[in-house]
């Protein structure tokens, strides 16, 4: 059973799934806490439209995915800042608009192209070494940026208005966060697929939230769950000859449901016994 690890494609798949599982579950913490899941879904579909166009006109797919993914975020952000449109409305429109574009581009192609469908449903076993380089580079870039702005991202996830009011450049940082989310989605597109990538962003972090009492532990739990589900999914899908993207997501979802069932936060407990000190008596 260990001979699978000697194949080049399997080694690439395991490395790619490690990186993707890591970056998605880490940034997913902010997606879950700040309630950005819909933006994640919208970006994934926009990026897929970019891939479809790339195959139609013969452009590099990753580049087109980046352009489509980031511009969705920018337009949504600009509309929101201008106070013109609520983000869920503009994302809802982009979501369907870009999907319509993707279907149009697919329809315009003369021949059936299985590689495009790989981007839709995910095919981690076909990750090439040049794909891997891009994934590695962007993963490192995204993780470095998160670690640089960790405390600010934490603050704006908790309360953006408050962050702005207390002297954090909150709008710019929120925009940066959206771009990082978008990039994480783009690099995961080929491996997990446009339809499922978004699950990898949300599920490990949502499961981690069931256990964590502070941000640091939520990050660590989420990363561990993300990497574990990705690896388990790749290995299981190889053994049982299942589609890798769906296996990864199903494993992550199973962990999520177990977390909800056994979460210490969801157990009914009597009101806290720790007596709150009275304000009046607290005068120092």
């Amino acid at each position: 059973m260990f001979e699978m690890f000697s194949y080049g494609f399997m080694q690439r798949a395991l490395l790619a799934s490690f990186l993707i599982g890591l970056v998605c579950s880490v940034i997913g913490v902010f997606v879950v806490l700040k309630g950005l899941s819909f933006i994640g879904a919208g970006t994934a579909h926009a990026a897929f439209a970019g891939v479809a166009l790339a195959f139609l006109i013969g452009a590099p797919p990753l580049l087109m995915a980046v352009i489509f993914g980031l511009s969705t975020v920018w337009i949504t952000g600009a509309l929101q800042q201008a106070g013109k449109m609520k983000p869920d409305v503009s994302i809802g429109i982009f979501y369907t608009l870009t999907m319509a574009l993707a279907i149009l581009f697919l329809g315009l192609m003369k021949a059936y192209n299985p590689e495009v469908y790989g981007y839709l449903f995910g095919s981690i076993l076909s990750v090439t070494s040049s794909d891997l380089k891009v994934i590695l580079l962007l993963t490192l870039g995204i993780l470095l940026t998160i670690s640089l702005f960790f405390k600010e991202f934490h603050f704006i996830s908790f309360d953006q208005e408050m962050a702005e009011a207390s002297g954090i450049p909150a709008r710019n940082l929120f925009f940066l966060l959206l771009n990082l989310i978008s990039l994480s989605i783009v690099i995961s597109l080929k491996a997990v697929g446009a339809i499922l990538v978004f699950a990898l962003l949300v599920i490990p972090a949502a499961a981690a939230e069931q256990w964590a009492n502070n941000m640091r532990s939520m990050m660590i739990y989420s990363a561990v769950l993300g990497v574990f589900s990705s690896w388990a999914g790749v290995i299981l899908s190889y053994w049982l000859d299942l589609p890798s993207g769906s296996t990864i997501v199903l494993i992550a979802a199973a962990i999520f449901f177990l977390s909800v069932l056994f979460s210490p936060k969801r157990r009914k407990k009597p009101p806290s016994k720790t007596p709150a000190p009275e304000v009046g008596g607290a005068a120092a």
């Binding site: 954090i168 939230e209 009492n213 709150a276």
Partner: protein, 278 residues
């Protein structure tokens, strides 16, 4: 207790405080409506100001203007001798703000300590980590509101009144000169309300803060404030509670029957459909 607070003697030595917030014919508008119109007033350093007015009278916009979160479309607003358009992050860090209470996800993974530490983030700046000094300030702020024993408790597990105290501690951790409180006592039981107001009065004295306390509940704060502002898009009055809480002024703004009862600490306002007054 916190070292930026001037000593009592020092404060007594400079009786004439200077204006810290100056509105001059300032108008604030949203795309669909004017929230505040032609506001002109000066607020002094160290003043304890109550801001009252009916629902939608622009009370929250008033605070957001001071924070520079919304800019005047006409007129000017100066804070710390600085036009609000030019208000930068380091100015905002000198203003503590307790926004209107909103629902906090009870599962949000954050401890009391972390919430208060966020008050330091503006001063710490990008790319830096909290220092020993920041941790000391957070500890002092928690002690000042009596929440130090629950420093490691998840914020979501605290009661409404405890959460408000933690959020006040966060504002204090900024070491602010101005403290803006937006309906801090709403949704809290009466006993806790009184404790909270006692706490705010004590902080006002200890830290020589300029406090703006927005509330719909006139009677709770009128005995404690130096100045009342009565807003209803326009500024209808600024003065001591006794000057503002008159039948004439109040019925002009609230448009309903007003009864005033005299009590030891000043007038007590009764509106005939008080609950709809919000």
């Amino acid at each position: 207790m916190i070292d930026h607070a001037p000593q009592k003697s020092e404060r007594a030595a400079k009786p004439a405080s200077k204006p810290i917030i100056q509105f001059s014919h300032a108008t604030f508008a949203y795309p669909d409506r004017i929230a505040l119109e032609d506001i002109t007033l000066d607020l002094m350093e160290g003043e304890f100001v109550g801001v009252i007015g009916p629902n939608g009278s622009g009370k929250t916009t008033f605070l957001k203007g001071i924070l520079g979160l919304i800019l005047p479309v006409h007129g000017t607003l100066q804070i710390f001798d600085c036009a609000c358009e030019a208000l930068r992050c380091h100015h905002r860090a000198r203003i503590g703000y307790l926004p209107q209470k909103k629902l906090v996800d009870p599962h949000y993974p954050i401890t009391t300590w972390e919430v208060v530490m966020m008050g330091r983030y503006g001063a710490i700046g990008l790319f830096h980590r909290p220092s020993q000094k920041d941790r000391e300030i957070v500890l002092e702020s928690l002690q000042a509101v009596g929440m130090e024993p629950l420093r490691d408790a998840p914020f979501g597990s605290l009661s409404g009144g405890q959460q408000q105290r933690v959020l006040i501690a966060r504002a204090l951790a900024q070491r602010p000169e101005i403290l803006l409180l937006d309906e801090p006592t709403t949704g809290i039981d009466a006993t806790t309300q009184h404790h909270l107001i006692d706490l705010i009065r004590r902080l006002h004295q200890e830290y020589h803060l300029t406090i703006l306390f927005v509330t719909h509940d006139i009677n709770t704060i009128s005995p404690f404030v130096d100045t009342l502002l009565l807003l209803n898009t326009r500024l209808y009055g600024k003065g001591t509670p006794r000057e503002i809480l008159t039948q004439e002024t109040l019925s002009q703004v609230y448009g309903k029957e007003i009864l005033l009862a005299e009590r030891e600490k000043g007038p007590y306002v009764i509106m005939n459909d008080y609950h709809h007054a919000g």
